[in-house]
């Protein structure tokens, strides 16, 4: 019976992912196809004057630009289904390769930022909730409200000014030092380049997690089972550890895994400010430079990324909350 449940879960999620991807690709394909980008002109670039109108017509013909929009979409969709995302015009290499390389760089950034914001936010939330109404609570709440209302890119600029320009602790930008061969770059150097972007990116998530955790902890602390636990002589951190942690982690987990979208969006800004060579920077370049295959590829990829985050939240729910796990099994 357990096996059946798992199969049902996987099938359900697969169907959801498929429909999501279809919807996303249709929407983004038509948005891009109606944008004022002329793919032929972009492809030729500066050599425009040396290409005759007939040659341009041939290129358009070869790419199927004269066919109807739905037909173009079907052509593109077929290629994607065969694993061919096309060639990036800017990088002159297959889209899948570009995404893979850029994503790895972004992944380090996002993982560090995500873990940092989760842990810091959760801890701050617990402290504030346990000390509700005291100065510690007020300081943490004020800190969170300030963070929540601060644009990430502005914060990034502040960090740059303070830590890179004035104090000189960290490099101003890029993922590795300039003028050094890729194989000569040390881990320390990579880490130093990672610190400020990761810090910027983590800030956005902290406030959210902290405030929700605080709220939930206050609710839990007022509950009957905490009263009973206190009557049984439990207090302080033992009390929170035994009865609080599981109960308050549910909102934090769902929020934090569901925030993969914001994480990705934040990475775009952070990478832009710090010239960090990640996926976020690539999508900005693709958008500004009219690199349609790369743009579509990243859009699809990010949809999968966010979807994975939500599935993980669902799975963790089951792990944390027996009410979800056992509701089907009697």
């Amino acid at each position: 019976m357990h096996y059946k449940q798992v199969m049902l879960f996987i099938t359900g999620k697969a169907v959801k992912l498929a429909t999501l991807l279809i919807a996303v690709s249709i929407l983004s394909f038509f948005l891009i196809s109606y944008s004022p980008i002329d793919p032929v002109q972009l492809y030729i670039g500066a050599d425009m004057t040396r290409v005759s109108p007939e040659q341009r017509e041939n290129i358009a013909e070869y790419w199927g630009l004269h066919e109807s929009k739905p037909q173009q979409f079907i052509n593109w969709g077929k290629a994607v289904l065969h694993g061919d995302f096309g060639t990036s015009l800017l990088y002159r290499s297959p889209v899948a390769d570009v995404i893979a390389e850029r994503f790895l760089a972004s992944l380090a950034l996002m993982v560090v930022a995500w873990l940092l914001s989760g842990v810091v936010g959760f801890l701050l939330g617990i402290i504030a909730g346990m000390r509700q109404g005291t100065w510690a609570d007020h300081v943490i709440k004020g800190f969170c409200f300030t963070l929540a209302s601060t644009p990430a890119f502005w914060l990034a600029l502040l960090f740059l000014m303070t830590f890179s320009v004035w104090l000189g602790w960290f490099p101003v930008g890029l993922g590795t030092p300039a003028g050094v061969l890729a194989e000569d770059v040390t881990w320390v150097e990579r880490l130093r380049h990672l610190v400020l972007p990761a810090l910027t990116l983590s800030i956005a998530g902290v406030a959210n997690v902290a405030l929700h955790t605080r709220e939930k902890l206050i609710e839990v602390l007022a509950s009957e089972y905490i009263r009973f636990a206190k009557a049984k002589g439990e207090h302080g951190f033992v009390l929170v550890w035994r009865h609080g942690l599981r109960n308050i982690s549910i909102p934090a987990v769902s929020l934090h895994f569901a925030s993969f979208g914001e994480l990705f969006g934040g990475a775009v800004l952070a990478e832009q400010v710090f010239s960090y060579p990640g996926l976020g920077q690539a999508i900005v370049q693709a958008g500004l430079g009219g690199d349609v295959p790369l743009l579509l590829g990243i859009v699809l990829f990010s949809a999968v990324f966010v979807f994975v985050g939500n599935v993980m939240a669902d799975l963790l729910y089951q792990l944390i909350d027996p009410r979800m796990r056992r509701s089907g099994v009697q």
Partner: protein, 315 residues
């Protein structure tokens, strides 16, 4: 017999002239204080079940919180609160609560929704063999072994209540506070609860049984403390509740007894005074048929009448 008589001198719980006050607002000291319990006296000995009976809003549950030291921050207690002959200080409570003093809570929500019931019961145990001990007690209260691995949402109300009772049984508590442990359950389940609680007393534990239901109180208890507007107006023996209540001492207790369907169903006019409605006289005086001038002027002191306590000038 010898053992009992020697312990009779130091009661488990001794409360005298106890009062509980709330500040309406912590910052604004000008705000009037609200006294929810005043002149509260009670003595509970080992092996004794003392019912505390009072209408809802009389401050019964706060009494439990006060003993357990889990009152909100804006509450202040005054008066004598002794456990085994010594004051129940904050420091002593940390050792005693959950060990020697246990609560059987009213609400089934008192179980942690995300912890297996067996484990929850084991948290009050000490030393080795927790699992075996817990399972043994579960069997004693009629819970099958597999319940240990279940979560509270998988239990019926009756089973959850047994888990709460089991928590009290498994601990080596000497004093147990049952706070409205029997709200709205059917007669069969009630009978079972009464048996369990009597069983606890037979093991020599003292039980304070808080309830609004005088009939249940009479089924369980040896003595009944009647709570009115935050005061104990009478502590009577169970045998005193008979006939038309002529052996009862306080007019409120008599009125309670006679308002039961089988005893004439006589309603008592008026309502319990709110915390800010209390005058300087006897709290029951506005509803009392025997009230005289002195009842308006002075609060009656507690007296011993017919081997029971009463707080009335006319008893």
């Amino acid at each position: 017999m010898n053992l009992i008589s020697s312990t009779r001198n130091t009661p488990l719980l001794e409360v005298k002239n106890f009062s509980l006050t709330f500040h309406s607002d912590r910052k604004d000291r000008q705000e009037p204080l609200t006294q929810v319990i005043r002149q509260f006296d009670i003595t509970i000995r080992e092996g004794e079940i003392m019912a505390v009976v009072g209408a809802s809003g009389s401050g019964k549950s706060l009494l439990a919180d006060a003993i357990l030291g889990i009152l909100p921050e804006n509450a202040t207690c005054k008066g004598m609160l002794h456990y085994k002959g010594e004051p129940l200080t904050e420091k002593r409570r940390k050792h005693l609560c959950g060990d020697q003093i246990m609560l059987i809570p009213q609400s089934l929500n008192a179980l942690d929704p995300l912890m297996k019931t067996g484990k929850q019961v084991q948290t009050v145990m000490k030393g080795k063999g927790k699992k075996d001990g817990q399972r043994a007690v579960f069997r004693k209260v009629g819970l099958p072994d597999h319940v240990s691995n279940q979560y509270p949402f998988e239990l019926s109300g009756g089973m959850a209540r047994r888990v709460l009772i089991a928590t009290a049984m498994v601990s080596n508590a000497h004093f147990i506070i049952a706070d409205e442990a029997t709200p709205g359950i059917d007669p069969h389940a009630l009978g079972e609860m009464v048996t369990f609680i009597k069983h606890l007393a037979m093991e020599g534990k003292g039980v304070m049984f808080i309830t609004h239901d005088i009939e249940t109180a009479l089924q369980v208890a040896d003595k009944v403390a009647v709570f009115y507007a935050g005061e104990t107006v009478e502590i009577a023996n169970v045998e005193d509740f008979s006939g038309t209540g002529e052996t009862l001492r306080h007019p409120y207790t008599k009125a309670l007894w006679n308002s039961l369907p089988q005893n004439g169903f006589v309603p008592l006019e008026g309502h319990q005074p709110l915390a800010d409605e209390k005058g300087k006289g006897c709290a029951f005086q506005p509803r009392c048929q025997r009230a005289t001038d002195i009842c308006l002027q002075k609060q009656p002191e507690s007296r011993i009448v017919k081997a029971g306590m009463v707080r009335c000038f006319h008893a």
